[in-house]
Structures are given as C-alpha cells and as structure tokens.
C-alpha cells in the first residue's frame, strides 16, 4: 500500500509532494484570511521581511537539524549529495525560522511580536504535510516503533508500528481551536494604523503610539498611559495573553509534543537518552521558559523586583 500514490486524472503524484505543496498553499491562504480578520501589527514591507526571514530560516534549519539528527550517518554520507539535499525536519524548520526572524527583527530594529498570525497556518500546514508523510510509508522515516496496539500500521516492512504521523495530525487539529481562541484574546493593533505614510524614516518603531489602537479602550488615567505597544495590549488583555502569545503557545505545545512523541520513534539517541530533534525541542522550550513560567505561575504569586 505504501507509498500511496495519488491519481489525479492522467497524473500519478507522490503523496509527499502533493501534501507538502498543498500544505504551503492552504497555510498561506489561511494566513491571509487571519491577517484580514485580526489585522497586522506591522507595516507591509516589514511583514514581508519577516515572512522572507521565516521561509529562509525554515529551509536552512530543516536541513541543518537533519544533518545533526544522526551525526554518524551524516559523516558516513559525506560523499552522498542526495543525503545532504534530501533530508529535512519540521522542528529544525521551526527553530531555524524563529532564529532568523529574531535576527531580522533585531537588524531592522523591529521590537514587535510578529508570529501570532503564523500560529494557526503552521499548525494546519504541518497537519496537512504529515498526511503526506503517513502515505509515503517507511521511506519517510517518520513512523513509530513497533507496537501490539490494535491501531498499529504496517508501513511496508511487515511490522505494525505506531502511526506517529496520525498522532501528530490529531494533536495539531486539537490545538488549532485553542490557538484561535488565544488569537481572539490578544489585541492586535489594526492594520489601518500601519499605513506606510505613518512611518517616519527615523522612527525605530514603525507605528506611532497615538494611533496604535483602533479597538475600544477602557479609560485610563495619565499614569496608566502605556509607553509601548506591548504594554498597551497587555493592559487590555489578561496577563497570560500578550502579543506574541499565540505563536509562543504553538511553539511550546508543538515542541513539547515532539519531545514526548519522539520517544516512540526509532531515532538514534545522542545524549542522555534524547535524540537530536528532542534536544532542539528542549532548547526551544528553554528559550521560552520565561513565558512558560508566566503562564504557569498565578498572577498574584508572581515575584516582582
């Protein structure tokens, strides 16, 4: 059965190619819809700069982590160009995209969170892409370890295995409504305030504070007047949902899922019983540790200095 080729009219298409291409198209379409619905906190050229950085970082990170996933195998394949070009990992793509976007933001002087609108498209895109991984079967290397559970699937090697791709799809489909709810609770300044004409050449912040909010604001005293965009949004929303939180929630949820799910994948363990992808997940979770603490520690018990 695997790989399960798709027959579209006269064409026979490899499932991975089809679903991967479909995931990009659907994710981009959903991103545009969300951008229209929730607005965009940054001006158009800076948004495209962030998108470009994310795409390039994802493409490079996906390959880089694949090479580090099994260093011994990488060393054995130094003469094999297909190995270097062929492999890629989603965790590497997410981590690479995160790093390059942060570098781009720092370079161009953008201090605003840019990732909220990516959270749902990423979750949906990965879920669709995983369908291609599942239908590709054993050659995709995304299957689980052997299992006697009734839903174990023979991917082509005669051994019933955990369908880890389907677990991941189910997880992501459950996560999407939570991300949407989070996105609704975050106040994203309207795109209307980010007209190019409002951006001065010398301004480090691309949108002036005076017009940064187009949503109803409760009256505030002069002392409460926020000085930054994030503070302004934070004053309108629960402390647990600040701009950037939808993306952070996606990253933390997905990395935690992968950290756990990869225990039932037959990947080589590099150090302390964890594989290369799991170590990348751990590092990403450490990067977000302050946000995890912010969500987990009740507001009243937070220690302030």
């Amino acid at each position: 059965m695997f790989p399960y080729y798709l027959h579209l009219g006269p064409y026979t298409i490899h499932p991975h190619l089809f679903f991967e291409a479909l995931s990009y198209v659907v994710a981009f379409y959903v991103y545009l819809k969300l951008r229209r619905r929730f607005g965009d906190p940054i001006v158009t050229p800076l948004r495209w700069a962030a998108v470009a950085a994310a795409v390039a970082g994802a493409a490079l990170g996906a390959k880089l982590l694949f090479w580090l996933e099994d260093p011994h195998l990488t060393l054995e394949n130094l003469h094999n160009p297909a190995y270097f070009v062929g492999g890629k990992t989603i965790v590497g793509a997410l981590a690479g995209g995160l790093i390059t976007v942060e570098l781009m933001k720092r370079y161009i002087g953008l201090g605003t969170s840019t990732g909220d609108l990516y959270a749902i498209p990423l979750a949906l895109g990965i879920a669709i892409g995983r369908m291609g991984c599942f239908l590709t079967g054993i050659s995709d290397n995304t299957y689980g370890i052997p299992t006697n559970l009734p839903w174990g699937i023979n991917f082509g090697d005669g051994v019933p295995r955990h369908p880890t791709q389907l677990y991941e799809i189910a997880f992501l489909l459950l996560l999407i409504p939570i991300l949407y709810r989070t996105l609704q609770k975050i106040v994203i300044p309207s795109a209307a305030v980010t007209k190019r004409s409002e951006v001065t050449a010398k301004s480090r912040d691309p949108y002036p504070i005076k017009s940064a909010v187009s949503v109803p604001i409760p009256p505030m005293s002069n002392d409460e007047q926020p000085t930054t965009l994030s503070l302004k949004a934070g004053s309108l929303t629960p402390a647990s949902f600040l701009p950037g939180d939808a993306f952070k929630l996606f990253m933390i949820s997905y990395m935690t899922f992968r950290l756990l799910a990869d225990f039932i994948k037959p990947y080589p363990r590099l150090f302390l019983g964890l594989g290369g992808i799991q170590w990348a997940c751990v590092l990403t979770l450490v990067y977000y540790s302050r946000d995890i603490a912010r969500w987990l520690v009740p507001k009243g018990r937070a220690v302030t200095h």
């Binding site: 080729y5 026979t12 298409i13 490899h14 991975h16 190619l17 991967e20 291409a21 990009y24 158009t44 050229p45 800076l46 495209w48 700069a49 998108v51 470009a52 950085a53 795409v55 390039a56 994802a58 493409a59 490079l60 996906a62 390959k63 160009p81 297909a82 270097f84 070009v85 062929g86 492999g87 890629k88 390059t100 781009m104 370079y107 161009i108 002087g109 953008l110 590709t136 050659s139 190019r196 050449a201 010398k202 301004s203 480090r204 691309p206």
Partner: protein, 69 residues
C-alpha cells in the same frame, strides 16, 4: 519603491524556499523530478539557497531602520 522591492524579493524567497523543499524530494528519488541526477539536484539546491539567502540579506538591508540619535 522600497515596499515594492521588498515584496518582490520576498516572493523570490518564497519561490526559492519552495524550490528548496522540491529539490529535496527530487534528490531522495521521490516524484516531481525532471530526470536530473542527484548531484544535479544538489547543485541546483545550493544555487537556490544562495539566491534565497542573498534575497533575505537584501530585504534586511532595504528595511533597516535609522536608529534614533
């Protein structure tokens, strides 16, 4: 003009980014290839990555803010 240039370059990154994933599928022998050798796909991928990185650097340069003095 800067906005247009940024959007055009971002589209270059999107296209080369997609090509990057496509080459990887071609290189491991999946469908979608056009009969090239794996080495040819590897070289094409390298050129593709170079274009992509160049476009991103140009975008960064174009959009760099002038810091307040």
């Amino acid at each position: 003009m800067k906005t247009l240039a940024t959007i055009a370059l971002a589209f270059v990154v999107l296209i080369t980014g997609f090509a990057c994933f496509w080459f990887s599928i071609c290189a491991i022998g999946g469908d979608g290839g056009m009969g090239g050798t794996r080495l040819a796909y590897a070289i094409a991928d390298l050129i593709d990555i170079a274009i992509m990185v160049g476009a991103v650097l140009l975008i960064a340069k174009l959009n760099k803010r002038v810091p307040r003095s």
